[in-house]
Symmetry: D2
Subunit: 289 residues, 4 copies
């Protein structure tokens, strides 16, 4: 297959490398130097003009938000022929995806939203989990590409469903994180040994990815790497809140978590890692980590 | 050691069986028949009068709440000699424990709060995790008893600290549960395949004990066993909220979770299992599971 | 001026009567009999076909939500000539209004959103307060009509601003109401005389329209008239929540109030009066009023 | 009557002046100079030693919190004879008041909790509203004193009921304030004229003491006087939250308001005025007033 891979960020860069081993690909990036470097490293073809992506069989996008995807859609869709496939690996907005899918459908082009989970380690190793929304037919076609970087491809529903599940995952992550931060700060104020407490929690029913994989190194070792930007996590939460709102649902925990993350983002700034909301929980209480 | 084991509920009954293999124990239960049955099964000595527990070296209590423990304390403490040890395995209230510890200290009696996690399977197998609050000396003495039913004994701090960590664990459990229920209901309303969605979530960063061990059988198979009463889970949440309040902390997520669980308890009733709050989340939205 | 008045509900009916005293008006209602009755009572001209409204100088709409307004817009806009004015007195959505204003602008037709406050007594007496969004020019033109039923016309900003202020008003009303319900239920549970308590609150800084004009007759006299449908109040809250969300704002109180009203609506049903959320607050606590 | 008036703060100072016109009073204040000044201005008798208050018929306390009242109780109660009356005008805690009332009852001393509303203007003018908890007999006796500074005395229930109603008043005030701040900030972000918006809101159903008497001068004129310390307002909210918690009630709005005020207090500091939480709402959104 001839593929145009659009977006060479922390995730996209290694993912495009995996795709390149099995497919002929052109790569495009907002900053062209990155595409040129990718071409040198992985034998891909760097293109400068977005329009030069239009001739490929498959367009794959992985960008910060659906807004950037929509901009690419505006440029490329008029140039695309029939019969192609658009794969959007962005952690995007289900409503945008549905609109894009419908638009492409009118041009006889398939669409799947296919966000991933597994972080940069999974992207490097090619062992990502991919949640896919779209028709059965588009899903089957997409698997040939998705399988190059994903070890687990899960078809979750119609177009937009992949983004919806990703947003739900990140909403759970966010609420689990904020609550754990509150509980650990409370224990700290009570003078309790947090290393022991985390050992208990992780042997107990309160455990989660958050308590097992995120908090120990931050809380106990004081390491605060930037692994996933708070701004993007907050964006995903806002997508989850929008999904609930559009479906006319009462979802107080998703709602409150979203409000708190927005406040934390305004305090911590765009550059912060999402786990740093733990520091904002402390700040609300006149404390620090 | 001569031990009085007070409270033969779903957890206490098998725990007392493990203790009996290595120690000489008297058992007391509010309903005496249960104690008599335990004596027949495990070779323990059933006592009818609480006062007959006073002569033992160690008093071990495991009761629904600190209120019941306090009642036992009122009866027994005046009868106890110096040098004994009180082990409270109840999921209790740190403030009550601190008061009891101080009172026993004046009589030269040690105290540890030692709530457990691992459920009835862990209690049956003798593989519970035990979080212990109290002085180093009391902790060391208590290990001889706790080790008979616990495979992991963790000393987390002063008297009350065990209860505090247990309350924190259950607050995290509760918030993780409620949020997961909201997210899954939202996905359901969007027409997404929940079996696939749970597969993704459990491969992803939103995963928790809740999404891995509690929700699949309820949501996908429709099995709603009573494993831990909602009334007790709600009580633990109220303890966590009290801890935060007493420490003058702003903890919006613990707070909201507690309010919602109280509302769910009033709707679902005392007999409900705690995971059934998932049904209340649906009811708030005119839906059912 | 020749005016088409569209929507003869509890508010619209008497408002159209006031307009008719000074202007020549056609009236249209989804149920034509109401329009016919209005024509008999007020000397207006009942029209059956919506399209017959298109020839008037001014189109005035007052409908349950912006959705119904949008449907009317779809039908009428293609039929309208240049130079007219559209006045929307619906408690609508600012985003819809902005879109409609822009669409009309391209056809050289003015637009104001002009929701009202004062209830049916104010509508009957012609003493409503009207909050108006739109250009200065459109506002001035609209005053000639609005002044027939409004004693206070306030220009609050551009198109959509009237709806935004109305949504903010109703969000404050809703939060004030829910909180007062919580406080009064707490006092009731403490055995406090609520008549005396309300007397104090209304002499104190906790007072509001809610405590002065809504709660005494409900709580003390047990009168629960339907004055404004909960479904409409909840819709306005959802508009306020959308406004905050679109502006990327952290608004925890608006958010929580909205979630709670949605849950109350699902419990109390479409026919309930909005003040009946007080009963839902009680139900969350196993109580009744 | 011979009265000991304890606590000459912003409220107590002028209140003691009114009492002095009709009764023989001794005044005590933590800082003795203030008592001396009061004696000079109002012909009262300044006492330095708290114990010298014990001989009076009536002890009247008005202090920052019940904690300070409890300290005075510890000192004075052992010195009091039978038949006296204790009037506590502090905005206190109902549970403390109940305990104090029970303790005094055993010594045949009456007790009323009698917090006031009306601010320093009401204290100066002697036109406060007083909400009184206690037995009918104690209430009647207290009226002779309370009537000197209160124009409206309302008996709301048993001992503690006055404090409970005061806490409820302040919880409503706080929630109304926070919500209004959110709504006005949202309108500001939408570019709406806030002077006009406030005019509308105060003609509409969203109005409250907050929107009528507090916000216009702050928001429109930029005046931020210290009228009532945020630390005291937050304390009253915490009392309301405790009342709800002790009564085992689900009160999400009281709960969230309390959490937010605590966070605001930690940010704004002890010296801030309570209305300044409006600034914290803005700060959560990267804005300022």
């Amino acid at each position: 297959m001839k593929i145009a891979f659009i977006g060479l960020g922390a995730m996209g860069y290694p993912m495009a490398g995996h795709v390149a081993r099995e497919h002929e690909i052109k790569v495009w990036n907002r900053t062209t130097e990155v595409a040129v470097r990718h071409a040198e490293e992985h034998g891909t073809i760097a293109v400068e003009r977005l329009e030069d992506c239009a001739a490929q069989d498959v367009i794959l996008t992985i960008l910060p938000t659906s807004r950037e995807v929509d901009e690419i859609v505006e440029v490329l869709v008029p140039l695309l022929g029939e019969g192609g496939l658009w794969i959007d690996c962005t952690s995007g907005d289900p409503e945008s995806s549905s609109r894009t899918a419908a638009r492409l459908f009118r041009q006889k082009i398939g669409f799947v939203d296919a966000p991933v989970t597994g972080g940069t380690p999974g992207a490097n190793a090619g062992t990502l989990t991919v949640m896919v929304g779209g028709t059965e037919e588009s899903y089957v076609r997409a698997c040939e590409v998705l399988g190059t970087f994903g070890s687990r491809l899960i078809h979750v529903g119609e177009a937009g469903a992949g983004h919806a599940v990703k947003a739900a995952n990140n909403a759970m992550l966010a609420a689990n994180l904020w609550t754990a931060a509150e509980c650990l700060l409370t224990l700290k104020k009570l003078g309790i040994n947090l290393r022991s407490a985390l050992e208990v929690l992780n042997a107990g029913s309160g455990r989660s990815f958050v308590s097992e994989s995120l908090l120990p190194s931050r809380i106990l070792e004081g390491e605060w790497p930037v692994t996933f930007k708070l701004a993007l996590q907050e964006k995903d939460l806002r997508i989850a809140a929008s999904m609930a709102h559009s479906s006319h649902l009462a979802m107080p925990m998703i709602g409150l978590t979203t409000q708190l993350f927005t406040a934390a983002l305004n305090d911590l700034g765009e550059g912060a890692d999402y786990v740093e909301v733990v520091k904002y929980v402390a700040k609300m209480n006149g404390e620090t980590w």
